[in-house]
Amino acid sequence: MVKIILVSHGNMAQSLLETASQIGSFDISEIPAFSVSGKGDLESLPQKLLNALGKNGTLILVDTLGGSSCNTAVQATQHLKNVKVVCGVNLNMLLSAINNREKMDLTDLTRKVLEDGKKSLIDISDKLK
């Protein structure tokens, strides 16, 4: 199973995880959610990420490109082979990652999560016209 990790500014990672657990069926304790906004959070993030990595690949979902969450996750894992960092996480992406993490390897899972994320952005008002 591919390990999923969330990293964000503020409470987004934790809240996104809690929200996802109200929709999807999974054990919330399997997915670490880290913030970069508290005292010392950014400095301790690299070690926390390394400690949380999975044996069969790790997909780190971060909130935004260019944010400290993304920058630090990329730098902390740059030399690791079986880790991918994807930015712009939303609820659909997290649910997609959770639902597919057992049946796909890291490469396929990453592709699937990105695809589902892109598919989730819809001007629904326009569609319903």
Binding site: L42, S68, N71
Partner: protein, 151 residues
Amino acid sequence: MICFTRVDNRLIHGQVVQGWLPKIKAEKVLVISNQAAQNTLMTKMMRMSLPPNYALEVIEPSKAKENLEKENKKVFLLVEDLKQLDEVVNSGIVLQEVNIGNTKYEEGKKEFSAGVYFNSEDLQIIAKLKNKNIAFSIKALPTSLEAKINV
């Protein structure tokens, strides 16, 4: 020409791109960081997160004067920490105002504002630079409440 100076150990990140750049008429971001100047991955990431209409250069503090002297663009000067800011000022760059956005948290540092921590060495640098008529404002974002430093 420098139009804005900020001390921020996170360098180019959300607060800079989303919060400050839209409020400042800069054409280029000049990052002063010994660490980032040596790190191509960091530079690549910063280039990706900075909107393409801004120029970007990442250099060591020792190269700031030479770089700024030949610069025609309006520069957002983004310095990693107070030590390197001090180095830039010592090299002969004249600054009037410096915004402090984020500083690295380390054991023994005191919190002055969310994300801003100083030790006695930092406070000494601030006091020294204040004597050179540099005004400091501690603010994460343009809309943040300013924190006061009494040194």
